[in-house]
């Protein structure tokens, strides 16, 4: 037991020391420093990758002398993320992004300890009354609706399949939006939905896709990083796929029709100047089709009939100008 205690102390000390070694100087050199904590891998082709790519884009825009970011990924466990967030805040980063809805409770504890640091928390709609927390979310039901419209129009068997992760947050919003869009196009269409209960169980996602295909679906969609399994089955069985959170064309260039891509730069472009001006939080933001934070990217390699594309474009216009409301429970 004593050996374990000493070992743990040594580990903790070395972690603290390496953490301090990363201290990148004071804020006076004009460099805007951002740290982001993510629940899954940066290359998950979904949620975490979307934030990573947004920060890379900002860096390209602002230049490396003016903007720097670091990340810690795979911190699904809230306790681990809490240590990382606290660590980054104490190292003097201007902005610490808690990119995961499960981080709310821990951020509520940490943010008040660092009034000079700005925090972003997403996906969430509530800044918890803290002056240095920005909240952000994605109205993924909008893109879901557009995908649903296209899927219903394309489907010949009139059965659609949805492979969902866990029935929460932007996953649920996307799925509900998809169903609404599909039913608005073909009211009699069957949309089969299953949630696999995990964001990362690729094997179960793959079986779910097989099940949907056996149940007659000829178009599939899904969200979260486990969809890789579902896309593989769609490719194998020649079904069409609609993606979300990131452009998933590269996984199956022949069958991916379109993807709803999250572009967080739209929010970062607003928030970073605010922080530089001294406002560290207090507002909740959302990426939507209207502000360009949500973008429907079509796969040019897929032969999308012109009338379906027109339907999609009209739907996007309708959502943006408010004539179409995507009615989903938040």
């Amino acid at each position: 037991m004593k050996k374990m205690l000493i070992l743990n102390l040594v580990l903790v000390l070395s972690l603290i020391l390496t953490g301090c070694a990363g201290l990148g100087g004071s804020k006076e050199d004009g460099k805007f420093r951002v740290a982001v904590v993510m629940p899954s891998a940066v290359n998950d082709l979904a949620f975490s990758q979307s934030m990573y790519e947004a920060l890379q884009a900002i860096q390209a825009e602002m230049g490396e002398e003016k903007f720097e970011f670091v990340y810690s990924d795979n911190l699904f466990v809230v306790d681990d993320a809490a240590s990382a967030i606290r660590d980054y805040a104490s190292q003097g980063y201007n902005l610490v992004i808690a990119h995961g809805s499960q981080y709310g409770g821990t951020l509520e504890e940490i943010a008040p300890d660092f009034p000079e640091t700005s925090f972003m928390w997403g996906t969430a709609g509530d800044t918890m009354g803290l002056a240095n927390v920005f909240a952000y979310e994605a109205y993924s039901q909008e893109g879901g609706y557009v995908n649903g419209v296209m899927a219903a129009a394309l489907s010949q068997s009139n059965v659609l399949g949805v492979v969902g992760p866990v029935e929460v947050g932007d996953a649920k919003l996307y799925v509900d939006g998809f169903i609404a869009g599909a039913k608005a196009t073909k009211p009699d269409i069957t949309v089969n939905v299953n949630y696999i209960g995990s964001f990362s169980d690729v094997a179960l996602a793959s079986e779910a896709a097989q099940t949907h295909a056996d149940a007659g679906a000829d178009v599939l969609t899904g969200t979260a990083q486990m969809v890789v399994g579902a896309i593989g089955v769609a490719k194998e069985r020649g079904l069409a796929w609609f993606g979300t959170q990131a452009n998933q064309t590269s996984l199956a260039p022949d069958i991916v029709v379109a993807s709803q891509v999250y572009d967080w730069t739209v929010l970062l472009d607003e928030i970073i100047p605010l922080i530089k001006d001294g406002t560290y939080g207090g507002t909740a933001y959302a990426i939507t089709l209207e502000n360009g934070g949500l973008v429907i990217e079509y796969n040019d390699g897929y032969d999308l009939p012109a009338d379906v594309k027109t339907m999609a474009e009209d739907t996007i216009k309708g959502i943006v100008d408010g004539s179409i409301t995507v009615d989903v429970a938040q």
Binding site: N43, D201, A203, E207
Partner: protein, 310 residues
């Protein structure tokens, strides 16, 4: 609605799906059975699976040669199994803890290698399904049993092979002896370390193959934490199966079939909340464990490191 469950498509779908899903559990659990029968608990199975999955995937990604990929998984799994044996048998580490260390190593290393060498979600062309001639044309049965992936057949083959080795060979006797009463075995000239090294390394090999069954056969992709805790369930299945290969098969199938069932239940729209549906395989397993409690007995020397006294 519930009546929809009893249509032919659904039943065939559930059975075929369950058989497929059970594959990695079978490879890993049968491998772990050998180790545990000889008295060594290896909780690092999931980590070895991930390293095997990545190695197989990377070789196939580079060369396109599936057998080379499988060989890579076998070698990497074997090496990690050897390391596990060294840690548990020679260094006599606390087996509950050392296993977690191996798991964390496998998880981190496979992700690190993935990020450094590939760093993008890619797919490969893995082992294909093989239609067994004549049998695969049988109605219903053909579709369920005889049109599966070649690595699925491999997993089920492991069961009679393991049964034969453990129960019908001298080696099997030695394994059992070492697991029940290492002192007596030692006094009769059986090398406890050698037997344990063998079983744990074999367990590593099979865990590596289990990982490869995911990355180069069933899913054809690699991602961080691809196994998602599968290895731990496999270890639990060994307990569930009372350390006997046939019952490990039963446990793997039960778990996987109920999992396949809950997916179908959701897909055809039976109004069970998804959270409850997802729990079903685990709840089922717990229920069976409760019913069968007391009827199985662990190898007496399980988790106890052996040191010759005197």
């Amino acid at each position: 609605m519930i009546s929809d469950l009893f249509s032919a498509t659904v039943i065939i779908g559930i059975l075929a799906s369950g058989i497929r899903l059970a594959t990695p559990y079978l490879y890993a659990a049968i491998g772990e059975t050998f180790g545990q029968r000889s008295g060594v608990l290896n909780l690092g199975v999931d980590g070895i699976m991930l390293m095997g999955a990545f190695s197989g995937f990377y070789l196939v990604f580079l060369t396109g040669n599936l057998w080379l990929g499988l060989l890579a998984a076998i070698i990497v799994g074997g090496l990690l199994g050897l390391a596990t044996a060294f840690i548990n048998v020679t260094l006599q580490a606390d087996q509950g803890i050392s296993g977690i260390g191996i798991f964390l190593f496998g998880l981190g290393m496979s992700d690190l290698l993935f990020q450094k060498l590939i760093n993008n979600v890619e797919t490969v062309s893995g082992f294909p399904p093989v239609h067994i001639p004549i049998l695969s044309d049988l109605p219903v049965v053909g579709e369920i049993f005889f049109q599966q992936n070649i690595m699925v057949y491999g997993a089920y083959l492991m069961v009679p092979i393991a049964y034969f080795i453990l129960n019908k060979t001298t080696l099997g006797l030695k394994i059992q002896a070492v697991g029940e009463n290492p002192e007596a075995a030692d006094s009769l000239g059986v090398s406890v370390s050698a037997v344990r090294y063998f079983t744990v390394t074999l367990g590593g090999v099979l865990s590596g193959v289990a990982g490869a069954s995911l990355s180069i056969a069933l899913l054809n992709v690699f991602q961080q934490n691809l196994t998602n805790g599968l290895g731990f369930i496999a270890v639990a299945l060994v307990y569930f199966g009372g350390w006997r290969p046939t019952w490990v098969l039963f446990g793997s199938l039960l778990f996987s079939l109920v999992n396949a069932l809950q997916v179908w239940v959701q897909v055809i729209g039976i109004p069970i909340p998804s959270d409850i549906a997802v729990m079903l395989p685990y709840v089922m397993t717990i229920l069976v464990l409760i019913i069968s409690a007391g009827r199985v007995r662990a190898p007496k020397a399980l988790t106890k490191a052996y040191e010759r006294s005197g």
